[in-house]
């Protein structure tokens, strides 16, 4: 019977050499003690970052124009969230990998209606506002085309939007209830009530921050803070965290792909990066079975450095 040929990248020679004493438990205990000491030393020396979360209240107070512009983009459905596609809505196809529209095929399973979720429903939760209640009734009973007409009129006039004494001023005509709705939404946001209304739409207890996070992300306030903290995508922000801390350094390769063309400019950049990383991860996982790649360790001879004592002693 013919013996199977020895494949150096697949088979390993049987070890016929010597053995040396090895106390595996002692090694483990020493490792735990040393790692614990190092962890404590690093924690004492550097601590950890904890920049407080931002709120819609803080946003609308410090940058009311950005808040108002964002709220209007939610109402006229031009915001990123309104135009996102799956999993939030069907407004666009979303990102595609060649002919594959993965997100679209799975569908809008986390439905978000920016008009109702970010503007109308929070306003309905405000008590003791007769004028607003009347305007909201007018909004609710109006046809879709009438609402669109009001919002369009307001959007055109909003080019000259300004804040006067803390009040939103837009000289819009034929805008129906929209001016009061937008003005009251700003006031609601500045009291902090909008923060609460966005998270409690589905009941008292919640840990789901999808709505307020989408709203915050649609504005520029959060992005401006992130820019100053070197957190944006073009600043390798995927692997950074606030302050001078190492962050998720292990995401360097994932972050790298966002810095190069076409991923840094393509509308399908995210799915392209994910596809690349899936292929690379599969390559790493199945390395033992990939001819060529599995030969690199043998051919680069780095192993001679690792086992230099073995090779020296066996000469």
């Amino acid at each position: 019977m013919k013996s199977k040929a020895f494949r150096p990248d697949v088979d390993a020679p049987e070890w016929k050499g010597g053995h040396s004493p090895y106390d595996i438990l002692k090694e483990g205990v020493i490792a735990v003690v040393l790692v614990s000491i190092l962890t404590v030393l690093l924690s004492v020396a550097f601590g950890s970052p904890d920049d407080p979360s931002i709120t819609v209240k803080a946003w609308s107070t410090s940058d009311p124009m950005d808040f108002a512009a964002t709220a209007l983009s939610e109402l006229n459905s031009t915001s990123d969230s309104a135009q996102y596609g799956a999993p939030y809505n069907k407004a666009s196809t979303g990102q595609q990998l060649g002919p594959l529209s993965l997100a679209k095929w799975i569908g809008a399973r986390i439905p978000v209606n920016t008009v109702n979720d970010f503007v109308v429903d929070p306003l309905k939760s405000l008590p003791g506002q007769p004028a607003l209640s009347t305007d909201l009734s007018q909004w609710s009973s109006a046809s879709t085309s009438t609402r669109a007409s009001w919002v369009n009129s307001y959007t055109h006039a909003a080019n000259k939007m300004k804040i006067v004494s803390g009040q939103l001023v837009v000289n819009a005509t034929n805008a129906g209830p929209v001016p009061l709705m937008m003005s009251d939404l700003l006031q609601m946001a500045r009291t902090g009530a909008l923060d609460q209304a966005l998270v409690t739409q589905n009941g008292f207890y919640t840990m789901d921050y999808t709505l307020p996070l989408l709203f915050l992300a649609d504005g520029t306030y959060m992005a401006n803070i992130a820019q100053k903290q070197h957190l944006t995508g073009d600043q390798w922000g995927m692997m950074n965290e606030t302050g001078n801390y190492p962050g998720q350094a292990w995401l360097w390769l994932y972050t790298f792909w966002y810095q190069v063309s076409p991923m840094n400019s393509s509308g399908n950049g995210d799915i392209l990066v994910w596809a690349i990383m899936m292929v690379l991860s599969a390559g790493l996982l199945f390395m033992p079975f990939i001819p060529g790649l599995r030969s690199i360790p043998r051919k680069t001879r780095v192993y001679r450095l690792i086992w230099r004592e073995h090779y020296r002693d066996s000469q």
């Binding site: 483990g28 790692v35 962890t39 606030t242 995210d270 033992p288």
Partner: protein, 208 residues
């Protein structure tokens, strides 16, 4: 009960199989091959030690709930322990991974050992990520709103919503650590069963 009947029991079969594959001297060895003599070998046990510190510090954080560390200096220090043990964990794990790559540590029927190691690395990345988006501070706000686009583009965002802090926290403190620990245990058992990969034979680089 006859001996044959006992021999055919599932329990008997499992015990014999385990004892055959992993006798006590393999599970808790007191010697090792002489080629295991490089600084690179310490990074495997360092990774496991750091994983232990990560889990202990995470359990301490869990004692007082997810908001504790924002309001307590003690809690913040425990969070620092958690952060730095994670950094050490990944540092050691990446060096361990590269070391094993250049040893071609999958040789000699050790492909599953390699694969469980790589899979543990990938699961650990997901575990750390869910920790970052569960912090309930600006970092978690920004990271989650940025990461959603990548995950949503694959379609997975419909089921794994990074903006749902409760879902991410549960994955971070229950599901993913459980997977990482089980995979690590399996990986270590495979190392004990198969042993540490021997060096290439001399002049292996010119073979084939």
């Amino acid at each position: 009960m006859s001996t044959t009947e006992i021999d055919r029991q599932w329990t008997t079969r499992l015990r014999r199989r385990v004892a055959g594959k992993l006798p006590p001297e393999k599970l808790l060895p007191d010697t090792q091959p002489t080629y295991v003599a490089s600084w690179i070998y310490v990074f495997g046990v360092t990774t496991m030690a750091a994983l232990g510190v990560v889990i202990v510090s995470g359990c301490l954080l869990a004692l007082r709930g997810p908001q504790w560390w924002h309001t307590s200096s003690v809690g913040h220090f425990v969070n620092s322990l958690h952060l730095w043990s994670v950094e050490i964990f990944f540092f050691a794990m990446v060096i361990h991974l590269w070391g094993k790559y250049f040893m071609a540590a999958w040789r000699g029927g050790r492909a599953l050992t390699w694969m469980t190691g790589v899979f543990t690395f990938l699961v650990s990345i997901a575990t750390a990520f869910t920790g970052y988006v569960s912090q309930s501070n600006f970092d978690s706000q920004w990271i989650s709103t940025q990461a959603k686009d990548g995950i949503n583009s694959t379609g997975a965002g419909a089921f794994w919503n990074v903006l749902n802090t409760g879902q991410m926290l549960m994955w971070h403190i229950v599901l993913l650590p459980l997977a990482a620990v089980v995979l690590t245990m399996f990986h270590v058992l495979l190392v004990r069963i198969k042993g540490v990969v021997p060096p290439f034979e001399k002049d292996a680089e010119v073979a084939q």
